[in-house]
């Protein structure tokens, strides 16, 4: 888009239907700055390449929505509930992250405890290895956990602590698993590297480390890339169990170290978050010959076809029959329940901007409610992710990569969605602009997965969009159209 077009777009005042959005034109300097990012946005068009430029470092000085490699590793591993997650670095890396993941646990709360080596100036000068060793022994003495994950931060990379060596030594002294995670924050602009490093930690140190044989069940699987945010796992697991499947472990939502240690004995891996966890599934296929299926438990159709895929994999007559019956029953229940929400949401325009997987896995779920996804994007997408997005969205959808905050303002203002789906950092910005918002990140408190979760999903969207607060715009007050304020119409003032 040229400067002129930008200006023109900005000057088109949205005066009709009393919209509360009203902006001044963009200054030139901002348009120039936005132009350098033009390749990171595109529209899906038939036959064209239709994926944005991605996996590039952010422009320095931007208010980026991205996180660091440590953050990426942390989100994958932290849901392991009975492990200690020790951050080797200055206090802030642990203090700002120790309890922010909304992953639920059915037993241990240890994963919600913040551990830090609290590196100080003298550790920076003389190295942090001795302190790390002391800390590991202390933790083992107090908690004796089945595993301690030790996360490297930027500082550790710079001062060159030999994390691996210290962990090895400590493991000998404590006889508990002590696992180095080489997640120095600045190793990449893309936290996806952190996801992979977390995967490596599991593959190298946990998966396959228990040889205790599990029950002799004909149909076992691991759910990979499901982190039990707001209890999502608990919307999926019962469905599989009803099909007659035994869930051996989850990587990593509501999991215990021992379960993951035995996960190599499963017949199948199913991958929910394909952004963070395809890597683990691929490696397990190589190493243990476990095939994997990509699944998606957001949305009715995707949940149903995922279950069918799984049943087809096991190819058991009884299971296939049970699955069809289950799907039929569940869909009946869901369709009745979502009817009122469906009516309220039909035709609404949605903008999605998230960390990864949800940028494509949610699209069908919206379409089932006849909502229109006009924009979708991620902070950390890789080329393969954008191909998935391209294959999922309909023509004309805007696809964005690593949009900094001001660009998001710009896009939201220009394309005027009725609803924004994103995380905590974008939430208050969207609301300040007067656009309804629905949380779809760590902070979510309602489970959205599986058939039942889909009812919650529709209900949450309806709550956001239909809230009466959006009727009370000050324009209506200023224009003196008092009769729009029904509540005060008959009041004696």
């Amino acid at each position: 888009m040229t400067k002129e077009q930008h200006k023109k777009a900005d000057n088109t005042k949205n005066s009709e239907n009393g919209s509360i959005l009203d902006f001044s034109p963009l200054p030139d300097s901002i348009i120039d700055a936005l132009e350098s990012r033009e390749k990171h946005r595109c529209f899906k068009k038939e036959g064209k390449q239709s994926t944005p430029d991605c996996n590039k470092s952010s422009i320095p000085g931007a208010v980026t929505q991205r996180s660091c490699v440590y953050g990426g590793a942390r989100v994958v591993l932290m849901p392991i509930t009975d492990a200690v997650h020790l951050v080797h670095g200055p206090i802030g890396c642990a203090a700002c992250t120790w309890d922010i993941r909304g992953s639920l646990s059915s037993s241990s709360k240890l994963y919600k405890t913040g551990f830090s080596t609290n590196l100080q100036e003298k550790d920076i000068v003389f190295g942090g290895e001795t302190k790390l060793m002391d800390v590991l022994l202390e933790i083992n003495r107090i908690y004796h956990p089945p595993a301690i994950f030790v996360y490297a931060t930027c500082v550790v990379g710079i001062i060159g602590d030999d994390l691996k060596k210290v962990c090895e030594l400590a493991q000998k002294k404590t006889s508990t698993r002590i696992i180095p995670v080489q997640s120095e924050g600045f190793r990449s602009f893309n936290k996806s590297l952190g996801h992979q490093l977390a995967g490596d930690a599991l593959l190298d140190y946990v998966i396959g480390s228990s040889h205790e044989t599990t029950l002799n069940h004909p149909f076992t699987l691991n759910i990979v890339g499901e982190f039990n945010v707001a209890g999502d796992l608990w919307g999926i697991k019962p469905l599989l169990e009803k099909m007659g499947i035994h869930v051996l472990s989850t990587l990593t939502g509501d999991s215990r170290v021992e379960e993951i240690a035995r996960s190599h004995q499963a017949h199948l891996n199913i991958v929910q978050c394909q952004k963070s966890s395809n890597y683990i599934a691929r490696q397990m296929e190589k190493k243990y010959d476990i095939p994997y299926l990509k699944v998606n438990f957001f949305g009715i159709d995707d949940t149903a076809s995922s279950l069918r895929d799984i049943a087809r994999f096991f190819n058991d007559h009884g299971m296939l029959k049970k699955t069809e019956q289950l799907i039929k029953e569940e869909i009946n229940k869901v369709e009745d329940a979502i009817k009122p929400y469906h009516d309220a949401l039909k035709g609404k325009k949605v903008a999605v901007y998230v960390g990864g997987n949800k940028a494509w896995s949610l699209i069908r779920a919206f379409e089932e409610l006849e909502m229109e996804v006009i924009m979708t994007g991620t902070q950390n997408g890789l080329p393969e992710d954008y191909q998935k997005i391209r294959d999922t969205v309909k023509e004309g959808t805007l696809i964005v990569d690593d949009s900094p905050v001001m660009e998001l303002y710009h896009l939201l203002k220009k394309y005027k969605p009725d609803l924004v789906i994103s995380g905590a950092k974008e939430k208050y910005m969207a609301l300040k602009m007067g656009i309804p918002f629905c949380e779809f990140n760590h902070d979510r408190i309602t489970s959205f997965s599986g058939f039942r979760g889909y009812i919650n999903f529709a209900k949450n969207l309806d709550q956001a969009v239909s809230s009466p607060v959006w009727n009370y715009t000050e324009k209506k007050l200023k224009n003196g159209r008092i009769n729009q304020f029904n509540e005060v119409k008959n009041a004696k003032i």
Binding site: L21, D22, F23, L26, S29, A33, S57, S58, I59, P60, G61, A62, V63, T64, Q65, R66, S67, C68, G71, P90, I91, G92, C93, A94, A95, C96, W98, D99, I100, K109, T113, G114, F115, S116, N118, L119, Q120, E121, D134, V135, I139, C154, V155, I158, G185, R187, S188, F189, M406, Y409, K413, A424, K425, M429, K432, M433, G434, D443, E474, K475
Partner: protein
């Protein structure tokens, strides 16, 4: 009789930290500048997780830029990132002030931040023109994450702002500088209210009240870039050398107060954090010391309302109850003094800072306490939990990070400070000043009533 026991953490590992690193405090300070933006010179996580934390507590957008340091910067230095970062930020956001906040990585690789800023200034001049460039103040703030904690970062930032932006004094402006500390919008508004009642103008260094609690008015909000209303203007910051005095409400504002005193002969007073009766009284005395302000009748009425509430409530429901208090040091000392005024015992106070001033202040407060006070410093929430398991208190006072301890030990938690993310509205309601004292008193009393009084036989206890 009062007695004091002082304990320090006896292990290396920190379990459930009570402090975070310096950059957070600096970002908070810069966010209080009108059209001011922090630029974090470090990894993306350094800004992202802090933005997340601010949004979670204040329920507001929080704009913090970052230079996105990567591996190559660790080897070759962050020169390119910082210079182009400043250039981009200046062009995109045209801010009035940029606070360059260093982190562990940029401090260790030894970037010459001052030098880079000079070069960046030159480049901004060339690209935006002399006039536009002149309007953008760039302040270097050194906040190595591996030294002390967020409160020192706040202190360093306020000092840097004053040191690098305040102009040579001309004429006394008859205003008072107030350094509020890391407090809530409601608290800053209460301080301003008190100053208004005394007819005394003030300069907040810095004023986060409106930026972190702003109205939803899309039609009149500036979005591109997003600048909330309010905050301390650069003009005010330049003018603070002309003030008749500086009052820092916390010990961690002392460096800036000292700079103003040493460089520009602006006299200063540091502390106490004005929570409760005596500390607020002392704050008013400090205001009077540096100005002709009067303690008006209306203000005495407000004081009287607090005393009235204390008379109505404290002796009946709170006397003899014990409290465990944790969090930032000045707030902890302030609240401890207040609970003593209510006839309660601050049985255990816990702060993450390793600071002798905190210990000395608490020893002073403890003289008024009935019963033993345990002062835990350089500690963490785990230490406090262990002590409370051994000797439970009647209530716990602190931020949301202690919620699981409260739940596990079945002791009610009175929420104060930063962060409070599992309840709403706490950032709006002040706990400082006389009116804030009433709020805090009510909050504590209602918690005690909920937990310790029998609803069935309520009338007997009235």
């Amino acid at each position: 009789m009062s007695a004091v026991k002082v304990t320090k953490r006896d292990r290396n590992v920190i379990i459930n930290p009570l402090v975070t690193c310096q950059p957070l405090g600096a970002m908070f300070a810069v966010a209080g500048m009108s059209r001011g933006l922090p630029l974090v010179h470090g990894s993306q996580g350094c800004s992202t997780f802090v933005r997340y934390g601010f949004s979670r507590h204040f329920r507001e957008p929080s704009e913090i830029a970052v230079t996105s340091l990567h591996e190559d910067a660790a080897v070759f230095g962050g020169r390119r990132n910082l210079i182009s970062g400043l250039g981009n930020l200046a062009a995109r956001f045209t801010p009035d002030l940029i606070g360059v906040v260093t982190t562990c990585s940029s401090e260790i690789i030894g970037d010459d931040v001052d030098g880079f800023i000079k070069t960046a200034r030159q480049e901004i001049k060339e690209s935006l023109g002399e006039n536009a460039a002149e309007k953008i103040k760039i302040v270097a703030i050194n906040t190595p994450s591996f030294v002390e904690h967020h409160y020192r970062g706040y202190d360093n930032a306020i000092k840097a702002l004053v040191d690098q932006v305040a102009l040579e004094p001309v004429n006394c402006n008859d205003k008072l500088n107030i350094i509020p500390g890391i407090v809530n919008p409601g608290d800053i508004r209460e301080i301003k209210h008190i100053m208004n009642m005394m007819g005394q103008q003030s300069i907040m260094l810095t004023d986060t009240s409106d930026p972190f609690d702003s109205p939803l008015r899309p039609g009149s909000t500036q979005f591109k870039p997003y600048y909330p209303k309010g905050g301390t203007s650069v003009q005010e910051l330049e003018d603070c050398s002309n003030s008749s005095g500086t009052i820092s409400l916390c010990n961690y504002g002392a460096q800036a107060a000292e700079v103003l005193e040493r460089k520009y002969k602006v006299p200063s007073a540091v502390g106490p954090f004005p929570i409760g009766l005596q500390n607020t009284d002392q704050f008013l005395r400090n205001v009077k010391k540096f100005s002709d302000a009067e303690i008006t009748d209306e203000l005495l009425d407000e004081r009287g309302l607090l005393v009235d509430s204390m008379a109505d409530i404290a002796s009946r429901y709170l006397f003899g109850k014990t409290a465990a208090i944790y969090g930032d040091p000045d707030m902890v000392t302030g609240i401890a003094r207040f609970v003593c005024e209510l006839g309660m015992t601050p049985q255990l106070v816990c702060s993450g800072v390793e600071n002798q001033e905190f210990v000395d202040d608490m020893k002073e407060v403890s003289k008024k306490a009935d019963g033993e006070v345990e002062i835990m410093y350089g500690q963490d929430l785990r230490s406090m939990e262990v002590r409370l398991e051994e000797e439970p208190a009647d209530i716990i006072i602190g931020h949301s990070d202690g919620r699981l301890i409260a739940q596990d030990l079945d002791i009610p938690l009175v929420r104060v400070g930063f962060p409070v993310y599992d309840r709403v509205g706490y950032h709006r309601v002040p706990i400082v000043g006389y009116r804030g004292g009433i709020n805090l008193l009510d909050r504590i009393t209602n918690t005690v009533l909920e937990e310790y009084y029998d609803p069935v036989h309520w009338k007997l206890q009235q």
